[in-house]
């Protein structure tokens, strides 16, 4: 047991080190530097083109003129003390930038994960129970059609329908600008109100995967001997489905949910951009465009760590659900 735990920690730390090294060197291997922008990124965008003198001054200011190994060891040293460095583009500590934007992404990713998993499982179960009947066909067709709509397009359609035509939801942002709230309940309501469409978009784009997985595993599971045995024992149909079939069918769904959080972190940037939602995805995008090395490192590190943690949690939950794999 003790040995297992040690090797587990060792594995975790070595993975982390590899990630840190990649996070550090990869952005610096991209062509260009944070201060050599000469072209706009989109039509009409204004940029401040720095003079060579300005560029050298800022390279020195941020220590980018030092040799790479020196920068790397400094980065590692700072990291141990919990210092993620300072964002070159935003001029703020990286920790603060992440802290400002990550919670918003967490909110919509977590919300979407919960909604898509629950409704996917429910719909999958309904579908599997009514296999080859009308309701199965309708759900199936609808799901497949949804699966292939890119999330930004789905978001745009929802935005046009709900915000522009029906005016039910806000057009953009995560809160009402310059709002004065009477108490936390009102604030929470405002946040949820603004998060509704982004969460819905993200949920819909993830739903089909969960649905198909649940449906198909359930169909496979229901042909197994132990289901027949349970039925033969005279158990109620409900008990058979919930305790025997669903519990077994949920294992791959749990695994998938763990991975999904990582996948969504990547896909969330499109949704954030459609709703101009202040999440970490857009921040990462601008960090990459502007070669903001400390910020790229910081965000990738946070994402990597949260994926590692999710995977760990999945392992634990898996153990709970399936005693055979409990360590």
């Amino acid at each position: 047991m003790e040995k297992d735990r040690n090797s587990f920690i060792f594995r975790f730390l070595s993975t982390l080190f590899v990630i840190l090294a990649i996070n550090f060197f990869l952005p610096r291997m991209m062509p260009g530097d944070p201060f050599s922008t000469t072209s706009a990124d989109e039509v009409g965008e204004e940029i401040i083109v720095m003079t060579e003198e300005q560029r050298l001054y800022y390279m020195k200011y941020y220590g980018l003129d030092r040799p790479l190994y020196e920068q790397f060891s400094k980065y590692m040293k700072n990291l141990i003390t919990g210092d993620l460095g300072r964002s070159i583009y935003y001029k703020m500590p990286v920790r603060d930038v992440i802290w400002l934007h990550l919670p918003w992404t967490m909110l919509i990713v977590m919300g979407a994960t919960a909604i898509s998993t629950i409704s996917g499982v429910v719909l999958g179960t309904v579908s599997a129970k009514n296999r080859k009947k009308g309701s199965d066909r309708v759900i199936m067709t609808g799901m497949i059609a949804f699966a292939e709509i890119p999330s930004f397009l789905l978001g745009l359609i929802l935005l046009l329908i709900f915000s522009v035509y029906f005016r039910l939801f806000p057009l953009a942002g995560a809160v009402t600008p310059f709002a004065n709230y009477n108490g936390p309940a009102e604030q929470a309501w405002d946040i949820l109100y603004h998060a509704f469409l982004p969460v819905l978009t993200l949920s819909l784009s993830q739903l089909t995967g969960v649905y198909l997985l649940t449906r198909n595993t359930l169909i496979t599971v229901t042909t197994k001997d132990y289901i027949r045995t349970a039925r033969a024992k005279g158990m109620g149909e409900k008990t058979v489905w919930v305790r025997h079939a669903l519990r077994n069918a949920l294992l791959p769904v749990v695994t998938r949910t763990g991975f999904m959080i990582g996948i969504m972190m990547g896909g969330v940037v499109l949704v954030e951009s459609v709703f101009s939602y202040p999440g970490i995805g857009m921040t990462l995008r601008s960090a990459v465009i502007n070669r903001d090395y400390p910020l790229i490192q910081g965000i990738l590190l946070v994402i990597a760590v949260s994926i590692l943690i999710c995977n760990m949690l999945v392992d634990k939950i898996y153990g709970k659900l399936d005693p055979r794999v409990r360590i």
Partner: protein, 598 residues
């Protein structure tokens, strides 16, 4: 801009994605789990019918929600060519709050704004410079008047009296000197004055300050319009202004105070500074709020001003409450030659052949969908105050291009449709960023017709910029703004003897040398008389248009729309396209400009 992007995406999506998948019925079984499921299950006929039905429904839904996709794009070219009927209604000249499209561009002090986007216009709300810009030219601002020594190296500025900082401290000549000295050590993001222009700054008395230049510089006053004066009593204790995000950092003398800034949501609220020395504000408060699509937000009344692209003009044309005005075309794409790497390009006849062979009007029509003006070979766009209308013009003329190439000795000797000379082929790699591929493809097509072979190489924007810097390219396209700024950029970009500043994308990088142009550039920089200087700039445009060191492909035109019942006081600075960036847009126009010095 973004809404038209979505539209294009929608159309692409419809034609290349939904219709093939839905109508032809899922030919993607090999790449997605759904495909596998259907494949395994061998859907019943009923299911297939349902699927097609649903797909048709979905397509209809997308079409509906996208609005009149077809109609808009069909009319775009027509509406761009039509001249706008002027809205003659009288609008509101005073308003309590104006809402504008927001976004995070950094804390509005000179050291902390972001280099991308309109951060410096936020700084302008709070901080003043010695001189400002209006529709026509440079006007007195913190400096009421100035004297220039006859040799052009000494400027004495007489400062306005009674100006106070927003925290109540008086503004004096010491602040001006302090700003200069401070920015020698701490270079700001924008508004700094490059090394080598100013030798020193002296305080003559609390209201008089003298700038001593290293050598005469005709652009000096223009540069001062961006030079924002910061308060000595606050910044003197700040050793690292780049991390100075305290509310004290935005103590200025300008017409507005920063009331609220929220980085994560990209909101700014500026309110009138009661201690402001100058004209009354006509807009009491300016709020920048986040929008997902500024056009929708404008239609919904969330913001009062927006930029619109020509294909959406029709939506507002009949609205008598909306004023639509074309912006000056100060944003453009440029086509670069690398004469260092490709020595044959030093022959100006080859470069002229490029200018004749590339159909710039076609680029405007097909790529910009009519929202642009074809580039002038004299570089300056038509809307520039010093544009020379009498310069050599290059219309699309493949025959002339071919003749020039033949004259220069380039002919197709081996029948592969690519011209060659002494075994060397006219074959190039054209570097551009992934958003400009269509421009590159059209150019490739046109050039191939005159026997020049081009391979388009799409790069990520920053990589392309790195290539410009290092000179690692053969031909290249880059898009940027600022084409309306002081015409001195003809010198800094195309003269390889720029004495004063270190230029990041100058002629030296790509090996262009023209002694006549260098001489004119040197004269233009020393000439303090505006009329005489204008003559020199006119001559420079003719030299450039004959020699073609680079080809401006087209300048984009955009439109501004605003609700006149809300606020109608918007104005443009003579060198800039954005009305919301001019501080005078928010102020009474009572006579400051009349004190203009000639």
């Amino acid at each position: 801009m973004r809404s038209s992007l979505y539209r294009v995406n929608l159309v692409i999506f419809l034609y290349f994605y939904v219709i093939p998948i839905c109508v032809v019925n899922i030919p993607y079984s090999d790449y997605h789990v759904i495909g596998k499921v259907i494949h395994k299950k061998r859907c019943s006929v009923m299911e297939k019918k349902l699927f097609v039905l649903f797909s048709v429904f979905l397509t209809a839904l997308i079409l509906l929600s996208a609005g009149c996709v077809g109609k808009d794009s069909a009319q775009s070219e027509i509406s761009a060519e039509e001249t706008l009927a002027e809205n003659t209604a009288e609008g509101s000249q005073h308003v309590d709050v104006v809402y504008l499209s927001g976004g995070d561009y950094g804390y509005p002090q000179p050291f902390t704004i972001y280099p991308r986007g309109p951060g410096s216009s936020k700084v302008r709300m709070v901080f003043d410079s010695l001189v400002e810009r209006d529709e026509i030219g440079i006007i007195p601002w913190l400096a009421e008047s100035w004297d220039v020594s006859s040799n052009g190296t000494e400027y004495i500025f007489h400062l306005r009296e009674g100006v106070i900082w927003s925290d109540g401290e008086p503004f004096t000549a010491n602040d001006v000197k302090f700003t200069f000295d401070y920015e020698q050590k701490n270079i700001p993001i924008s508004g700094g004055i490059e090394d080598g222009i100013i030798d020193n700054v002296q305080v003559l008395d609390p209201n008089t300050v003298k700038f001593v230049l290293s050598q005469p510089a005709s652009t000096f006053l223009y540069k001062l319009t961006g030079f924002k004066i910061i308060p000595e009593h606050i910044y003197k204790d700040i050793s690292d202004p780049t991390s100075f995000l305290d509310s004290k950092a935005v103590t200025g003398t300008g017409p507005f105070l920063l009331d609220e800034y929220n980085k994560e949501h990209g909101t700014y609220r500026f309110v009138t500074n009661d201690k402001f020395w100058g004209p009354e504000t006509t807009v009491k408060s300016v709020e920048f709020i986040p929008v997902s699509d500024s056009l929708i937000a404008f239609e919904e009344g969330k913001i009062d001003f927006t930029g619109i692209s020509p294909d959406t003009l029709d939506r507002f044309k009949s609205n008598s409450d909306v004023r639509i005005v074309q912006q000056p075309a100060f944003w453009g794409y440029q086509f670069y030659f690398n004469m260092k790497k490709c020595p044959e390009l030093n022959d100006s006849r080859i470069r002229q052949a490029f200018a004749y062979a590339i159909d710039r009007d076609e680029l405007v029509n097909k790529i910009a969908r009519g929202a642009g003006k074809a580039g002038n070979m004299g570089i300056l766009p038509e809307d520039h105050i010093w544009y020379n209308p009498n310069q050599p013009k290059y219309s699309f003329d493949p025959e002339k291009a071919g003749a020039l190439l033949t004259e220069a000795g380039w002919t197709d000797t081996d029948g592969d449709k690519i011209r060659d000379k002494n075994g060397k082929k006219l074959s190039y790699v054209l570097s551009l960023s992934s958003g400009e591929v269509r421009i590159g493809e059209l150019i490739k097509e046109r050039l191939s017709e005159v026997g020049i072979d081009v391979q388009v190489k799409a790069l990520e924007s920053k990589s392309r910029d790195a290539n410009i810097k290092s000179g690692d390219f053969q031909l290249l396209i880059s898009g940027f703004g600022g084409w309306g700024t002081d015409a001195d950029y003809l010198r800094t970009r195309y003269c390889d003897t720029s004495q004063l500043e270190s230029v990041s994308s100058g002629a030296a990088v790509y090996g262009y040398h023209n002694a006549t142009l260098n001489a004119l550039g040197a004269r233009e920089l020393q000439e303090l008389d505006d009329e005489k200087r204008k003559e020199i700039i006119y001559d420079m445009q003719i030299v450039l248009a004959n020699d073609i060191p680079a080809i401006p492909l087209y300048y984009t035109t955009s439109y501004d729309a605003w609700r006149i019942s809300k606020y109608d006081g918007w104005m443009n600075m003579y060198d800039h396209h954005a009305r919301t960036h001019s501080i005078l847009s928010y102020l009474e126009r009572d006579g400051i400009a009349e004190k203009r010095q000639h």
